[in-house]
């Protein structure tokens, strides 16, 4: 059973037929038994009727056809792909936060899963597009030199070996770096 306050709050919506079935029935039952609310309803209906008569008399003077044709044109008009893209981006950017939370979580997971790559990537950052790094050298007992030259980013491995392949004393095969 509705009280007077809640009935009066719902009265406008009830008159416009905007309430659901149960709500509408509760307002109707209350109005049957309440003189004050019935009077409120009568006043409201009177006000609506007055407004309607004013609008009806004025409506004939308004040029609706051009207005509607303009609206129809905008509805049927095919929008350019750029506008579609802008609309889509706008809807994505102004969308619920979950739209960004999901890719953020995915990227975070991928980052964690590829942690080893990232760590080695940071470790190798200084070497990228820079020096070649030598991890091991085995010259089978021969002398070998490793040179890293900063200016040209050059890494040189030099094997000391003469024509016979064993004697390392000749100076002809030695570079002067």
């Amino acid at each position: 059973m509705k009280n007077c306050d809640s009935t009066r709050e719902s009265l406008g919506a009830w008159l416009d037929g905007e309430l659901d079935r149960a709500e509408s029935e509760a307002v109707r039952v209350h109005l049957e038994g309440c003189v004050a609310c019935k009077e409120e309803r009568r006043q409201l209906e009177k006000l609506q009727a007055a407004l309607k008569s004013v609008l009806d008399s004025e409506a004939s003077r308004i040029a609706f056809p051009p207005f509607w044709s303009s609206v129809q044109q905008r509805i049927t008009e095919k929008s350019a792909w750029r506008e579609d893209l802008v609309d889509w981006l706008r809807s994505v950017f102004s969308g619920p936060r979950i739209a960004w939370a999901i890719p953020a979580v995915i990227l975070l997971l991928l980052g964690v899963l590829s942690g080893d790559s990232l760590v080695s990537g940071f470790r190798n950052f200084g070497q990228r597009n820079n020096f070649a790094s030598v991890e091991s050298i085995d010259a089978y007992g021969r002398n070998v030199a490793l040179l890293r030259e900063d200016e040209t980013k050059t890494t040189v491995i030099w094997l000391y070996q003469n024509q016979e392949g064993e004697d390392e004393s000749t100076t002809e095969t030695r570079p002067s770096f």
């Binding site: 080695s120 990228r128 085995d138 890494t155």
Partner: protein, 152 residues
Amino acid sequence: MSQRLKQGLLFSSLTFFVAAYLRAAENSPQTVSVKIETILASNQSGEFDSRLKALEKQLRVLKYRSYRLLKEESQNVPSQGSASFEIPGGRSLIVWLQDFRNQQVALKVRLQGGQKPLLDTTIRLPNKGNFILGGPPHDGGVLVLSISANAQ
């Protein structure tokens, strides 16, 4: 399901697939093109082979007076595979592709004189980078090998 939620899910799916593709591409087996330029360095003349222009600054580090390109050879080396290059003087160079990660190519390189190994090295190169291996005597000078790798 609301339009915005649908778009959000679509965007999320696209992000996931792009990220997954990029990660797969980063880790997938690669074929690396390995190029060996065999150069004769000596002090006999002041000649500098114009075909070596791109390597000039690096070669000048070695302080020889002349440099001549004897041979240039490229081979595609599959991941965990190897390629063999003939080097003048009955030598050969065998290159194994060990790893390609973070735009770095790890190569194991063996220089052989006949069947006898002369040098083994494992080196990590920046993609499209090179290193110099030199020393073996040849024809009055020394052989200088520029070994470069280009991951495709």
